[in-house]
């Protein structure tokens, strides 16, 4: 809007007055277009902001749909979201900065632009804080998912210790039975943890093999397969054909085989190093599996796995929730298994039980454990045990047991 009009008068006032009248008319005529122009500018500015918020909303919707389709994890989506918001804010800031860098800004223009810059900063800070809070929540949830199976395993070990100590105190168990109980609980917990770790290690390559996104934190082979099959059934963008399903099964078996191999190798190495009795008890498992491995070598990997899944060589039945070793009998019996349980072939089971029995009766069994027998205490003990036996980890790495194999 024309706020000030400067006029120069000459000596000829008559002509000047008519000029002023004409100028006044012209100025009056200009007011409306100028007002319209300012309105247009204001609308354009609002439209730019609207466009920006529309773009952000569209981007967020895309991210949400990708999370819903499990193409990316929630944490990845939040990370992309934060990056995108930062980029948009940078662009908007740059425009405002360029205006403010101008030397001849009017007070009105400078105030308006400066206010927009401050508002943008406040909006962006609030958005960033909200994104960080959401990411912290997701990270905590993922950490809990990661830790839960391990915590359960250590709780199970702790429960074994507790029952052994109670049995000793109450006189319902002798030392040999109590030691057997302790060794069984430690061994079971260790196997559970190893299975969990290796299943998670195998999940990434398996997902890549199936053309899926990287698994979320805490997801194992089973989760990846479940995702793949659900995408196939519910018609997700990436169809899983029959060949892909076969590949999935094969890859899963390979991953499980790698996990099993790693467990046996680790336990075998630990036994060879002559470590503590609880881990030493697992030496039978290593020896037994060597025989099973030989059988696998003769009959093929699928034969070995098939026999394992058919319980032809043994089993913990009918429900292995509390552990149950079968007596010798003819034929077979159906089994009901739970998640993360493991079925051992008969030679391994027998060897393990024999070794534990011999160790408890004849030799010395030194189980150094101090403090309460709860999950965290046992976890600390177990960490120390692993630190004192670096050969376990080294052998797992040397034998390349942590790398999932494909057939």
């Amino acid at each position: 809007m024309a706020d000030e009009v400067q006029l120069k008068f000459s000596a000829d006032l008559g002509g000047a007055l008519s000029s002023i009248a004409a100028l006044k008319q012209a100025v009056t005529g200009v007011v409306a277009p100028v007002a319209q122009l300012k309105g247009a500018f204001a609308e354009a500015s609002a439209a730019i902001q609207q466009s920006s918020s529309t773009a952000i909303a569209r981007f967020k919707a895309d991210m949400q749909s990708m999370v819903a389709e499990r193409a990316i994890s929630l944490r990845q989506a939040l990370g992309f979201d934060a990056d995108y918001t930062a980029q948009r804010a940078d662009l908007e800031r740059e425009d405002l900065r360029n205006i403010l860098a101008g030397e001849a800004l009017t007070l009105d223009r400078k105030s308006q632009t400066y206010e927009q810059l401050v508002a943008l900063s406040q909006r962006y800070s609030a958005q960033l804080a909200a994104d960080q809070a959401r990411m912290a929540v997701v990270a905590a949830r993922e950490a809990d998912l990661m830790a839960r199976p391990y915590r359960q395993a250590f709780d199970a070990i702790g429960a074994g210790w507790r029952s052994a100590v109670i049995g000793l105190v109450e006189g319902t168990m002798n030392f040999q039975t109590a030691a057997l109980r302790v060794a069984q609980s430690v061994e079971r917990g260790f196997i559970t943890m190893a299975q969990t770790t290796l299943s998670r290690a195998a999940a990434g390559p398996l997902a890549a093999l199936l053309g899926q996104a990287a698994p979320a934190a805490g997801e194992g082979v089973g989760d990846v397969l479940g995702n793949a099959v659900s995408r196939w059934i519910f018609g997700a963008p990436t169809k899983l054909g029959e060949a892909a399903a076969t590949t999935a099964n094969t890859a899963a078996l390979a991953a499980n085989t790698a996990a099993l191999g790693a467990v046996t190798a680790a336990l075998g190495a630990s036994a060879a190093a002559g470590s503590a009795g609880a881990v030493g008890g697992a030496a039978a498992l290593a020896g037994g599996t060597a025989a099973a491995g030989a059988a696998a070598g003769g009959g093929g990997l699928f034969g070995f796995l098939g026999s394992l899944f058919a319980f032809g060589r043994g089993g913990i039945v009918p429900s292995a929730a509390r552990g149950w070793a079968l007596p010798n009998f003819a034929g077979a019996t159906p089994a009901l298994l739970h998640a993360r349980e493991m079925v051992l072939p008969a030679p391994i089971s027998e060897g393990l039980q024999r070794l534990i029995g011999e160790g408890g009766g004849g030799g010395d069994m030194h189980l150094h454990f101090h403090g309460p027998s709860d999950g965290p205490a046992v976890e600390r003990w177990f960490t120390g045990l692993m630190a004192r036996n670096p050969g376990v980890v080294r052998n797992m790495l040397r034998s390349n047991a942590l790398t999932p194999r494909t057939l």
Binding site: R93, R97, A101, E103, S111, Y114, E115, V118, Q122
Partner: protein, 227 residues
């Protein structure tokens, strides 16, 4: 068995702990160089020790502080924006300040602008001045140029020297119940200590009737300029 340490060791330990654990906290203008007339890097380092800066925004601002047009002509003078926050008056809240650092070609800071939490035209008491963030920004921007500046001195300077020079320009952009009105206020440059000039400007905009006190959507923005 635990052995009791002689008293002198206890004293030395507590002294070491106190000197090691407590960071140097700048509490006034005499504690640092400020920003006016000092190199940009020094100014930023000083601000970092006294405020929480948004480092992400600062990085991009520094990269574009001497922006040019397609012909290579500088877009105005050099400008770097610093987004900073300070603890607010309400516990748990923070006040956001955006500092405009006007630069010379050699990256020396020639001027500092900063927004205030609220306008100062109606401010009278120390508490209200405190809540605007005026002193918090001024002592950080000026630094040792005015080492003896106190809060009350600054508020009195504003009340007695700046306020009387503030002029107002009213714009009634439209009328009616949803009319748009604006008052632009500016003091112009007022000489301050250490060879610095101080300016205050604000923009009050509202919709509704003529009286801003009865405004439906009242929006006020105020800032200071130090040169």
């Amino acid at each position: 068995m635990r052995r009791r340490l002689p008293p002198r060791y206890g004293f030395l330990l507590s002294l070491a702990a106190s000197t090691a654990a407590t960071p140097a906290i700048a509490a006034g203008p005499a504690d640092g160089p400020g920003c006016l007339g000092v190199p940009l890097g020094e100014c930023l380092a000083w601000l970092r020790t006294t405020m929480k800066l948004d480092e992400g925004a600062l990085r991009s601002a520094l990269a574009q502080r001497h922006a040019t047009d397609v012909n290579g002509k500088p877009l105005g003078g050099g400008l770097a924006t610093v987004e900073a926050s300070l603890p607010g008056q309400v516990p748990g809240a923070t006040d956001t300040f955006v500092l405009l650092l006007h630069l010379r070609p050699d990256d020396t800071v020639r001027g500092v602008d900063s927004n205030l939490v609220h306008g100062l035209i109606d401010s009278r008491t120390e508490a209200v001045y405190d809540s605007s963030g005026l002193y918090e920004i001024v002592w950080r921007a000026i630094g040792r140029r005015c080492p003896g500046m106190t809060k009350l001195e600054l508020y009195r300077f504003f009340e007695n020297m700046v306020k009387p020079r503030i002029t107002h320009l009213r714009q009634d952009l439209s009328t009616g119940i949803n009319g748009l009105h604006r008052i632009l206020s500016s003091s112009g440059a007022v000489p301050f200590c250490g060879g610095v000039t101080f300016s205050y400007a604000s923009r009050l905009q509202w919709r509704g009737g003529q009286n801003p006190e009865a405004a439906a959507k009242r929006d006020e923005f105020a800032y200071i300029e130090l040169r």
